[in-house]
Symmetry: C2
Subunit: 418 residues, 2 copies
């Protein structure tokens, strides 16, 4: 079979399976999830063996330690993958929920009801747990899923996929419910991205270059997560003790994440007091500071920030700091350099707080809290398939609800249009 035919075949099977999935009750889906979770544990040895191959290959290619760590599976990590599937069972079924229902003067009953999207394609990089995670979340939302992982984890992904597939077959689910593109040929992705008659949504999970290349080539709608250049603005009316805790947390608690702060904006009237204190604490935590001219005057030994710094998602222990003359200047800075992900204000002034929440055009805007809370679990969504920096369909942390669409069910007793 040619590669094109092979990918098309997978997509057609997935579409067929999606018509099966749409008819299932929550109970039936949960039964399958449980079987999947158990099958991961049962096939642990096979998965670990496959993972070893990937690790050896990565070591041979002298990949960095962090990369190999992300790739590595252990007994504990497989247990965690299995547990994660079990926790999806506990989430409420996002499908067949009545979003709204109303009655028209002519007696028509219109019901806006949540339904699965259909077929979802996930394109991801080297974490093998994404394979089981995404399969479970898509399935719970009634969607068929086509998985395409990075070539570095192909053996692990195949072994995980096999375990999942066995479980689904045992539960009487058709093959296409979860598919994995087994070839590492890059052309497979380009082919997949053109199948807009068969695939309803593409979610890329990985670095910015992966996402940009998917967007550039896709004829299917894509939900993107570009980057998080998150700001914390310490207002003139901030409780500086609180501001310190929030800023420190936003930068240091886990600097490698998209919701970590990359730029601290400080109102000029509190800069003298606040900047030396927070910089001292950050430096102790080994954070490199890159400051505006005023910042460098306030604290010795601070590197000057360039415009490029303000536009960079460091994902590391680096922070740019800028003193602003007014709240409007802070807002203008966020417009210019922000990434519409997560931004926070610390203030005790009500109008300023409200103005910030309303004006800043980001997925998540915070008043007196750390931007690190932008996360499906922290929001209480129970699960997260990603954080969308798009505005269409889904914005911010995406849970199960965002993996559904709706349709209108219109029930009448013979109504015709006049």
């Amino acid at each position: 079979m040619s590669l094109k035919k092979e990918i098309l075949h997978i997509a057609v099977q997935a579409q067929k399976a999606s018509r099966f999935l749409v008819t299932l009750s929550g109970e039936q889906k949960n039964k399958a999830l449980k079987a999947m979770a158990e099958s991961l544990l049962k096939n642990k040895q096979a998965i670990l063996k496959a993972n070893k191959k990937d690790i050896e290959f990565a070591k041979g290619r002298k990949m960095p330690g962090a990369f190999i760590d992300r790739l590595t599976l252990t007994d504990k990590r497989i247990k965690k993958m299995s547990d994660d599937l079990m926790s999806v069972i506990a989430l409420s079924d996002p499908v067949s929920q009545v979003i709204k229902m109303w009655r028209r003067p002519n007696g028509l009953n219109i019901c806006k009801m949540s339904v699965p999207l259909g077929v979802i394609g996930i394109i991801y990089e080297s974490r093998p747990n994404v394979t089981s995670d995404c399969a479970a979340l898509c399935l719970k939302a009634g969607n068929a899923v086509i998985l395409r992982g990075g070539k570095e984890s192909i053996h692990s992904n195949l072994a995980i996929y096999k375990a999942i597939s066995q479980a689904l077959t045992k539960c009487g689910f058709p093959q296409g419910c979860v598919s994995l593109i087994a070839t590492t040929d890059r052309a497979a992705v380009s082919i997949m991205l053109r199948l807009s008659n068969h695939i309803d949504l593409i979610i890329p999970r990985g670095g910015e270059s992966l996402i940009r290349s998917v967007v550039e080539n896709s004829k299917i709608p894509v939900i993107k997560h570009y980057k998080g250049i998150c700001h914390t603005f310490v207002d003139k009316y901030a409780d500086l003790g609180m501001a310190e805790e929030i800023a420190f947390n936003a930068k240091v608690q886990r600097p490698s994440t998209c919701n970590a702060m990359e730029c601290l904006l400080v109102h000029k009237s509190v800069a003298d007091k606040f900047i030396p204190r927070i910089v001292k604490r950050l430096k102790k935590a080994k954070v490199e500071i890159r400051g505006c001219p005023k910042t460098t005057k306030l604290v010795k030994g601070v590197k000057r920030a360039t415009n490029e710094d303000y536009a960079t998602e460091f994902l590391d222990r680096i922070l740019s700091v800028k003193v602003v003359n007014s709240m409007d200047a802070a807002l203008a800075h966020i417009v210019k350099y922000g990434s519409k992900h997560s931004d926070a204000i610390v203030t005790d002034n009500f109008p300023n707080g409200m103005k910030f929440l309303k004006s800043v055009d980001s997925a998540c805007v915070y008043l007196n809290a750390s931007t690190r809370f932008t996360d499906g679990n922290e929001f209480g969504l129970g699960a997260e398939i990603g954080v969308s920096t798009d505005k269409l369909h889904a914005r911010g942390p995406m849970g199960l609800e965002e993996l559904t669409t709706y349709k209108y069910m219109v029930m009448g007793n013979g109504q015709i249009r006049k």
Copy 2:
């Protein structure tokens, strides 16, 4: 200024204006809408004069009568445009609505709130009233709008745009709130469709070829309305009197619309009774019937339907008719030939009705009612900017709510992540 710079300038101004619009109250937006409605009437003579130019040009190019009719403005039609703007005032503000709000165990208050999308681009064909309609709906939802109409109505569009602009300026609104791309150069559209940093959504309004070309070229999310190949399935358990009224209405009441029926499916056990009767009535209404072999046996003088007929949106007094052996066969036909727009079942059997509503993957699914109700006004949305055949973001009739997105406003008192 080069064309590229010109279009970019328009988009940048629109983005600036969108930051102004997001801060407005419903009252302020309504005041502007009222001024726009009044300005259309005040500038009636100028609009009619400009429209005359377009009509003369179209007549010179020997455009068909229906085309010229759509293009033509009269006193009455301008009054209607103005009235339509006034009726947008009466609609409730879709912005700053709390969609959901909840409190996390750590005391964070998370508010999912509706907000404008930002900048919307509308690409449309020759109806000049789209200019004022879309401007009003986008504005009411707090969005800046960039309008790009067909070259056939360029003079009318410019005159309408001028009237709207004057009103907005008088109300103190910045230029970019409503923009019109004045050049008829086709390259302008390609340039516009690449400005994904400035425009948040593209809505094409027109025929399938316009939409396909927009989708092919756009780097901005597009909400599409492809076509409506709508089915009515007359089940074994249908009330045949009701089925006749519904089918007749769905085909004949306005055949040129996307929600008109294009294919009638009839269960074999009622075909003998139902088909002769409905065909007789449709023929009287000058509808051409193209039938399956069984249909042609039941009624004399009926043309045989081809597979291509089943896949065609006739938008005319033509109907394909097919006898099916079972409900599953009807569902399979809809999967194969349907366009996911609107499909109906007529039945008195509860399980069959529910199965149809659940299984058919269309934006609107009907039980015992005409598909002609797929329409923003008929649904009670108060307005309609289009009917989406997409599944992402908006599906089916799009009202004001679908011109918004949401953001999460998270309010705390010093919460940090552990």
